[in-house]
Symmetry: C2
Subunit: 574 residues, 2 copies
């Protein structure tokens, strides 16, 4: 089906647009396959508003028959009545902006609404805008991603004694959500990895995600072991973890579920590393909410933020009730615990919950920011996100399908990535000099994860993103025959990395880099230990209250600082 | 009694000091008449800590008999037992810092505690430190205050047609808490003012505090009329207010009590301006908490801030329960209402509650900041505080006698001035470019109001501050015989303005000015309307969480911006 089939009314004149921070303006509304475009003709007006339909989370219609006011017993026929009426569409965006359109003509209004409803949530990834976005200053295929696992491994020479790069997953058959290459202990061969993968949910066997140069300790991550009610064991899994320890006294396992949840998971076929089988590992349980609970928390917070009652007690009580800040606190303190194990106590740590695609990534990312100065530069941070979220298989497509307004409650939505950005913002605001990027970057990423011109956050993992040619290329590199690929041809043909542009690459171009760097950045080699006192954690106003006058003033101030630094740089050079 | 009489132990060696943001250090503790001095001898230590005893709000003793651990049945005699023991003093300061001293020797510890308890709350103003503070770079008598009422009046030529400067209060007999000169309608002579003063609580007859150049409207302030249960009237009071209106359609009275509270006040001899007697004035009631309720809110917030449970829900619930942010919201929204009446609706406004020395000053000050760009410079803001708080008779000595820790609950304490500074901080953080001063200034003022080297916040009004010679000088200026002065000779002899230094003057010296100006300041002629959405108001972490690592990092960042601006200025000049 063509986009045009979904568009009955493509243009409407004399539409009133009401949006935050601007006076209402009158103009023409157009709907295209991917955009809602509003062009006005007034002076001092915003000019054009171009909104990705994908950014629309919910739409509310309110149709009002104008003739009702001019007398119900008018002599006009029914068709005239309809044409004389008007409708209002309230458009709630995934980036929390709310727009209102007053559209003349009830039928036109309903047509527009229907088009938006259909086109804003197309399921077919290949029809999404990143496949159509062709800016003149970018060419395809461009460089995609910031660093491959191969490059990452080759840069870390210190690792090479004890760790190797395995391509056991080169065709994504061992673990569909892992990248094609991962770092594992040298003593663990690919056959062992295949066995371990069968013992871990979704095949996510333990892999290295961080090497702490100061003391040689590592962070590993995986999914839960499938020990099940029968307490099944996997010798290779135990050997792999033993190889991680390699002589040092012990390692820690941080399980992002409560002990009770982990017990319960065993009844359902999942499980945890029991003391008897993994004697060198000490398990710590820290319950982190994810999935539905987190999504509901997000929805409650956004609802509270929209409360217009001007009642301070009610606001604070709703803020408390949303639990969002509690989730921020738990994430930061669990990440702090992880960093403490590695940096202060000198132990290696394995992190997992159940799937190992959400909370696991959240705390491993935060711990790396806390410990590793290289992750705190603009490039370093984007590369960290690329490794730990995009390549590591956080299912962006499922998690970010809807934001806080949609009434379509699917099971898979969860703002885990947004929670990460919020936690990074807390770090940023507690250490205003230690991070090389700005709050604007975090805001931009929060928007892009939900609706984007770029392909970076499309799909759920690398396998889904790759195209058949690159898979083919991969096959050429290996020396022994492969099992038949489990991928459907359609999936293989997506070609995100060849047919879309990469957000991370774009954010590192000079102009964007100027905008997204922190003008006050002063690198420090020290770990940055966040305070997790509730008194120290704040609502991320830059995101949650973004479309308000107050946020605008703060942005002005930041812009002022940035300009000053740029001017200063010029003066210093001249 | 001499200070020395209160000091039994002046020096103790081997004292351990624990304070926020520093490692513990060992050194010598000295007590003088006004200070607690700790000098340590270690490397990398804070060196010296000099604390005004006046800054100490509460002291907790915990004495520990060390011999108890070495065996109760020791052969040592009782005196040896005492000398072998030690004590810990927890010192809670008015600026919310908490220090801990481990002092060897129980008797020495108790002596130190007793000295601090007595010397930290001496009642006699003339014995306070500002009368002894003699820095080498300041000489006495210096310039005191930023502008006299006479200067203020003479600068506002636009006023002179309709307003005059009255010296009816030159000997403080008409209104003890007013300055010697005030601005009143030209048509109201001094005899009328004397009658009006008798009809207003504490003699605080309506005076002009702000003239809005854009439309000629004014803000007046006063105390409540003493109409009482018999609905007494005062013709002169009615005439004075009528003269304020002078032909324009009407004025507003903002009463900072609820309508019910105002009714209740009438039963107690106070009252409000009834519609029948003040036909041109429309009364608006906005209940603002002050006095005990505000003090309790402050205490609850400080208690919540010290909660160590790491429980986000409990913190948010305690924050809500303290109601502090509700008071901030009410103050800002009432000030916004006042500014709206003057700036948007073009009406003159009279503000009062009961005494007219607390909430009244709070909202008139905030409204001036909102409307008048001149009040937003560093000088302008200090001059505003000088006029509206120091000269206008906010009883600093009573209100700021104790802060949030003291167990001595007196009736008169109330953190109204602190609430003002918090509200100004909210404005500052909502409009980071519009105010010419920095958060550091607000922090400094919050500290100085409670304990200071300077005389600015001593006493409760100008009468108490003046010395006999300046009163004499005042008498020389007037042409007709004065009634006998009601002032006691002791009060007259205080001489704050001659024998102490003025904080405001010191804050405007070049070095301090550099430190307290806002490097991002960009003056705007526009009114700055604060958002009073509860979502927009934040805890003033710079004050309430000041002695934490987090606050330190934020100060570092501010310092960085400041240095950048200074460097930039130098480069631009060279």
């Amino acid at each position: 089906m063509e986009f045009a089939d979904h568009i009955k009314t493509a243009n409407v004149k004399d539409v009133w647009l009401r949006q935050p921070l601007h006076p209402p303006s009158r103009g023409t509304l157009c709907i295209t396959g991917h955009h809602l475009l509003f062009s006005d003709r007034g002076e001092g007006s915003p000019g054009q508003v171009l909104l990705l339909l994908r950014n629309i989370d919910a739409i509310e219609k309110s149709v009002e028959n104008l003739l009702a006011y001019s007398g119900l017993f008018s002599s006009a026929g029914p068709s005239e009545r309809i044409s004389g009426s008007s409708g209002t569409l309230t458009i709630k965006c995934k980036d929390l902006r709310v727009l209102q359109l007053d559209i003349p003509g009830m039928e036109q209004c309903l047509n527009i609404a229907r088009s938006i409803e259909t086109l804003s949530c197309l399921d077919d990834v290949s029809e999404m805008y990143p496949f159509f976005y062709r800016p003149s200053d970018l060419s395809l295929p461009g460089q995609w991603g910031l660093s491959s696992p191969e490059q990452h491994y080759s840069q870390m020479k210190e690792l090479h004694d004890r760790w190797r790069l395995s391509t056991v997953n080169r065709d994504y058959s061992v673990c569909p959500s892992y990248p094609s290459a991962v770092i594992v202990p040298k003593s663990t061969d690919d056959d062992m990895l295949r066995k371990v993968a069968k013992f871990r949910q979704g095949g996510r066997f333990p892999v290295l995600c961080y090497y702490h140069r100061k003391n040689g300790m590592v962070i590993m991550r995986s999914s839960q072991p499938l020990s099940g009610a029968n307490r099944k064991r996997c010798k290779e899994d135990e050997q792999l973890l033993q190889a991680v320890i390699d002589g040092s006294d012990k390692g820690y396992i941080i399980d992002t579920r409560s002990s009770q949840q982990a017990q319960h998971a065993r009844m359902m076929g999942g499980g945890f590393e029991s003391k008897s089988c993994y004697g060198s590992w000490k398990r710590l349980h820290r319950q982190m909410e994810k999935g539905k609970a987190l999504q509901e928390s997000f929805i409650k917070l956004v609802e509270a933020r929209g409360d217009e009652s001007h009642n301070m007690d009610r606001w604070l009580s709703k803020l408390e009730n949303s639990k969002w800040l509690s989730h921020v606190q738990t994430a930061l303190s669990t990440a702090g615990l992880l960093a403490e194990c590695v940096e202060r106590d000198g132990h290696s740590v394995l992190v997992h919950g159940s799937e190992g695609t959400d909370s696991t990534l959240l705390i491993s990312t935060l711990a790396q920011l806390i410990m590793d100065p290289c992750c705190r530069t603009l490039e370093g941070f984007l590369a960290l996100l690329d490794r730990e979220w995009v390549q590591a298989g956080h299912p962006f497509q499922q998690r970010c399908a809807h934001s806080a307004y949609s009434h379509a409650r699917l099971q898979q939505e969860s703002p885990v990535f947004l929670l990460l950005l919020d936690c990074v913002w807390q770090l940023w605001s507690q250490f205003p000099l230690a991070l090389g990027f700005s709050e604007a970057l975090l805001q931009r990423l929060a928007t892009e994860a939900y609706a984007s011109n770029y392909g970076t956050f499309l799909c759920n993992n690398q396998q889904e993103r790759l195209c058949s040619t690159s898979l083919f290329h991969n096959i050429q590199c290996v020396s022994y025959p492969l099992p038949p690929s489990p991928l459907s041809p359609l999936r293989c043909a997506l070609g995100v990395t060849e047919k879309t542009h990469c957000l991370f690459q774009v954010l590192l171009r000079p102009r964007e880099r100027d905008h997204y760097c922190n003008p006050l950045y002063e690198p420090t080699e020290l770990a940055i230990w966040p305070s997790v006192h509730p008194q120290s954690l704040q609502l991320w106003r830059g995101f949650f209250l973004r479309w308000t006058q107050q946020a605008r003033h703060l942005e002005d101030a930041r812009e002022e600082i940035r300009n000053m630094v740029i001017q200063w740089g010029k003066l210093a050079l001249s």
